[in-house]
């Protein structure tokens, strides 16, 4: 069995593995496993008493696997959607921890950007460094979450250990609580009409206040990225047999996490790094000043009746709207993906005339 095959034979077997794999829609890992099997099969023929040549052995192997029904069930396995063996609550707790951790890292990145930038540039959108930093941080946030979720899925496919699979529920709850506190403690960078406000005020103020036309792209980018987060959550949750329930649960969990994280700052205020005209400083802003809602709607703190309730309600409406939009976008992407896969599997043949 330890005979070395010639490079021609290996190439022929690679080709055969690719042909079988492509016709059955096998992924790279399954194709590699198939190649190993073809190699062993060929070596098995070669080690027989007849003493056949490598070319004959490849022919025999090809003939053995030539039957289209050779891997009928494997085909169904590969086409089947990914199903997680970890319970949905655990998976949602994991994605909540990940989102909070990435959010905290993004806040720190914005803080460093604010500290490293001179105030005048920040206020007047001077130079490419400022806006590109915000862009990069926003894009990286979503990309990091997608990367990690994909990685966890791959680990589960390979039956490798996942940190959230076997931990006690109390441990997961503690981590979530800890991450919420961390997110709350990291100062938010705030300066109205500056690049640091662009992310929050994009929809309402960007067109008017942003002199730089490139910065106006935030009008598109900010909502797209905002919707991307619930889409990622829903995609991550949709790994169970009961699809609709999983999708709804993931959307509700995202809304819940989003509101829970913002409640402390609405009720008790939060530290804010203020980029001012004359000086930059960190302040602990009281609850009513912590949110941007009253500014966004042109209201004074007094207008919102001195209570955080109005902001919590608005925040909830905003989160629900994003989650619903996310669910619609996810459904459309899912439908398009299924359609493409369906038509991709059809073997198109010319019509006989």
């Amino acid at each position: 069995m330890d005979k070395k095959l010639s490079s021609e034979t290996e190439a022929a077997l690679r080709k055969l593995a690719r042909e079988i794999g492509n016709s059955r829609g096998l992924d790279d890992d399954a194709q590699e496993e198939l190649y190993g099997h073809l190699e062993d099969k060929t070596l098995g023929y070669l080690s027989g008493e007849d003493g056949i040549t490598e070319a004959d052995a490849v022919l025999l192997t090809r003939e053995h696997f030539g039957d289209p029904g050779a891997f009928p069930e494997a085909d169904a396995q590969v086409q089947a959607p990914f199903r997680s063996s970890v319970s949905l609550p655990r998976r949602l707790a994991a994605v909540a921890v990940l989102t909070l951790a990435v959010g905290a890292a993004a806040s720190i990145a914005r803080l460093i950007a604010a500290l490293s930038m001179d105030t005048e540039s920040a206020i007047n959108y001077l130079g490419p460094r400022g806006w590109s930093l915000i862009w990069i941080v926003m894009a990286l946030q979503a990309a990091c979450i997608l990367f990690m979720l994909n990685r966890w899925k791959a680990r589960e496919r390979r039956s490798q250990q996942l940190w959230y699979a076997n931990r006690a529920p109390s441990f997961l709850a503690m981590v979530l609580f800890g991450m919420t506190i961390i997110v709350w403690c990291i100062p938010e960078v705030r300066l109205e009409h500056s690049i640091f406000a662009a992310q929050h005020e994009a929809l309402i103020f960007s067109m008017v206040r942003m002199p730089n036309p490139i910065l106006r792209t935030f009008v598109v980018i900010a909502p797209v990225v905002s919707v991307l987060f619930p889409v990622l959550w829903i995609w991550w949750g949709d790994c169970e047999s009961v699809r609709v329930r999983s999708i709804v649960a993931a959307a509700v969990a995202w809304v819940g996490t989003s509101i829970t994280v913002s409640i402390p700052s609405m009720l008790y205020g939060s530290p804010v790094f203020v980029v001012g005209d004359s000086t930059s400083r960190i302040e602990i802003l009281p609850a009513m000043d912590a949110g941007a809602v009253h500014q966004a709607f042109g209201l004074t703190p007094e207008d919102v009746a001195g209570t955080a309730l109005a902001m919590i309600v608005l925040r909830t409406v905003y989160a629900v709207a994003l989650a619903v939009t996310g669910a619609v976008v996810y459904s459309l992407i899912s439908l398009a993906s299924r359609t493409v896969r369906h038509y991709g599997r059809i073997r198109w043949r010319p019509v006989a005339r």
């Binding site: 890992d29 099997h37 062993d40 099969k41 891997f71 069930e73 494997a74 063996s85 390979r158 039956s159």
Partner: protein, 111 residues
């Protein structure tokens, strides 16, 4: 004598798990080992074994790992997990009960 396909089909996962419980191995060797044990009662092909291995992997009853075989080639080895051993124990127990019932009925038929 060849065994009835349905009878063999009902115990495929069990046979794969019990073979892996003896020794972790990869698909090609697993097929060889099972067919050798079967001694002509049945003969499994790739289309039977790989889907079962992938299904068991998804269920967490086995785990797969790429490693170098003693031939020096990279192969995907399958290891039985603790859950797999538990499922194997339950499956064997069910088969023993089933076997006992069939034997009892057989004895009754023979008078």
């Amino acid at each position: 004598m060849k065994l009835d396909k349905e009878l063999v089909g009902a115990s495929t996962s069990l046979l794969v798990l019990s073979t892996l419980a003896r020794e972790a191995t990869y698909g090609y060797r697993l097929i060889k080992a099972i067919n050798k044990e079967a001694d002509g009662l049945f003969e499994w092909q790739e289309g039977t074994v790989y889907p079962i291995l992938h299904k068991l992997e998804k269920e967490g009853l086995v785990r797969a790992q790429w490693q170098t075989a003693d031939t020096g080639r990279r192969r995907k080895y399958y290891y039985i997990t603790a859950g797999g051993r538990e499922a194997l124990g339950q499956g064997v127990e069910q088969w023993e009960r089933w076997h006992g019932m069939v034997m009892k009925l057989g004895e009754a038929r023979n008078g």
